[in-house]
Symmetry: none
Subunit: 408 residues, 2 copies
């Protein structure tokens, strides 16, 4: 018997309210340069401290597997309880979601970027001299106006930042993944894409579609400088993911600000509640929607953003801003409340990392690990131990008393 | 290579004595109502403390999988080192074991209970007004005397508490599991049972047998009030489980008081040593049988019982009574001694839970976690970490030096 089937069989509906607050990239490492403290340790967090002292279970979560640094996609899929290795989402899809494109089942999406080609079609600059976003927008506009369809297939072209853009093929009968239309270094021509699985007729059809797109679109850029070509990578379709509501018997809503996280929530079928811009407004939205959903995913971006910049003080302040807003959420305290990250983003590393992120779980039956604060070293001592992030949802369901007893 | 095969290949006999003391449901959670303490923390346990201070490894164990609350069956099968999801035992079998029926290979057992039927055969009360145990005994006696066999198959009928009883079909050529002869709510007739796997001819044969049993037994109750019918659930055969002795190369004995735990031990082929009623007597039995077996499973029920009642003081006292008796066991200290639970039974929850139970392992090579006491929060800091209960036996074997080195 598969473990997921056992969980399904034991699942009961209880009407409990669950909230998952993701402080993106909150986990960090202590270094001498940072006075031997992490931002969580250095931050002044009276509200979080009070919550911990009321009784919480703490632990640390391995986002994917030991040593693996996740992007936002796998990081969040694991938090949503999906195996992030089994459920891979192509980068084209993630990028499209990040630009706020609402993908439909069957869409094939690609990350693309403008490049410079010489007169023999050899890639001489993979990023076209890192053109401005405004130039990228103009070029996408040119392509969008001239290439709306290929046969029956609709083509959507959306600019991103700098030289980056996204292409979505919307139609029927094709699928990814395809090999990249990108030599991955200068001095070579743009390779023709192929189906990763040559026996898939749908993928072969998609490869033909991309070739036709190149044949139509490349000539439109021939006179542009320096962006007279483009590369496409991570060409894949939106995978079929069992819906969150079906999997957990919880009606879920996403309260996020950035498109990428709304997109990831949408992938698993969460409703998107729009409008909030700040964490206080996100918590106000939670209060307003409290009775309409069972599960709330609330995403806070700034911990990760300042970690990526290596800005310890700003990451610390972002945590303090979150803490200051926390009492708004607690006006209608969820039955099960989790505060964690999707991964660590240590300031020292200026990027995502594999270090297990700390996690805090509060419910009437979470018990108490008798810790004073929420921090990385505190979480090391907690009753949840070090565990895989994909099991967090199961602990949340258990605390919501959503599982019947297994066996007599 | 399967991990179990590797363990087998590495196993050596060493003549060590191992003891597994199960304080049923000992794990708990600290809540404000209980002064922020668990019963283990609140109890005065000088003997346990001394043992810990001599040097123990501590940790916490996930009984089945994250968030899953086990019944006694899966809880103990995991402690005995079997995968509790792979090795599922039907509720009929567990119930029969609980009533002290010694099942034989091939037996099919069902949980049953008396119910009330109207004149059209519709179930109007699934529990027949919760008749007294004495009435249940009378009715079982009526059935037992009239229905001893169905064809070649022997039928055993044994009363339980209140409206509950157990039916065992002893013969050849049939197997479970079957669907329930229970509509699971009032207002419907008793459904006819079917094989869960319709392609199993043995299960189809068992379904036919149950139908014949109904045809014979129901008329015998027609004039009884209010118990003029009965329902049957969890109809299954005793699964084939590889014997404990073969799996671990240890000759095992069970020193338990309650039938359920004797039955679970018997399922894996442990010898039952009868006679002891109190924990002191159980330890005396251990002393007397010390030279006759390699492995002793000693089960103590009262921690769970008081946890189920939500009686913190009584659970604490049960731990203290265990502690007071511990020196008897230590007169012949086992080479490897484990004290743990089969799951947690938090007083606050008045029932089993998923919270990892604390475990203590003492041997000459267990090392010391330098903890002062045995408790949930202490165990969080131990060298065993949080691990799946089914690996406990392997740690016990390792501490008994029963594993050869793997590889050069």
């Amino acid at each position: 018997m598969k473990l997921d089937d056992l969980y399904s069989e034991l699942t009961l509906k209880t009407g409990a309210k669950l909230a998952l607050i993701v402080l993106d990239g909150v986990g960090d490492i202590a270094t001498a340069a940072q006075h031997g403290m992490t931002p969580l340790e250095a931050a002044t967090t009276p509200n979080l401290d009070a919550l911990v002292q009321q009784g919480c279970a703490q632990g640390r979560m391995i986002p994917v597997a030991p040593g693996i640094t996740p992007g936002s996609g796998p990081g969040h899929l694991a938090l949503f309880g999906y195996d992030p290795i089994e459920t891979q989402v192509g980068r084209g899809v993630i990028e499209a979601l990040g630009l706020g494109i609402e993908l439909k089942a069957g869409d094939v999406a690609a990350r693309a970027n403008f490049c410079t080609l010489d007169n023999k079609g050899i890639v001489t600059d993979r990023r076209a001299g890192r053109i401005d976003t405004s130039v990228c927008m103009e070029l996408c506009d040119v392509l969008s106006k001239k290439v709306k369809n290929i046969g029956d297939t609709e083509v959507l072209i959306r600019p991103g930042k700098g030289h980056r853009f996204v292409v979505v093929f919307r139609g029927k009968g094709f699928e990814g993944p395809l090999t990249d239309a990108d030599p991955h270094r200068e001095g070579l021509p743009i390779p023709t894409v192929e189906a990763v699985d040559p026996s898939s007729s749908k993928a072969n059809k998609a490869a033909k579609l991309v070739a036709e797109f190149y044949a139509t679109a490349l000539p439109l850029l021939a006179q542009k400088k320096p962006a007279n070509g483009f590369l496409m990578r991570g060409i894949a379709h939106q995978p079929e993911i069992p819906s969150f509501e079906h999997r957990y018997q919880l009606k879920p809503a996403c309260i996020a600000v950035y498109p990428m996280y709304k997109g990831l929530a949408q992938l698993v079928g969460m409703a998107k509640i729009e409008g909030a811009e700040t964490i206080s407004e996100q918590f106000e939205t939670y209060l307003a929607e409290h009775d309409n959903y069972d599960f709330f995913f609330i995403h806070y971006k700034y911990t990760d953003m300042h970690g990526e910049d290596g800005n310890f003080e700003a990451k610390k302040r972002a945590i303090e801003e979150f803490d200051a807003a926390l009492p708004i959420l607690l006006r209608k305290k969820p039955d099960v409340l989790v505060i964690t990250g999707d991964h660590s983003t240590p300031c020292f590393m200026k990027g995502h990392s594999w270090h297990p992120q700390p996690v805090l779980l509060h419910s009437d039956c979470s018990g108490s690990d008798k810790l004073e604060r929420f921090s990385e070293t505190g979480a090391n001592l907690g009753s949840l131990g070090v565990f895989e992030a994909r099991f967090l949802m199961r602990y949340m369901q258990a605390n919501a008393r959503m599982f019947d007893k297994f066996g007599a």
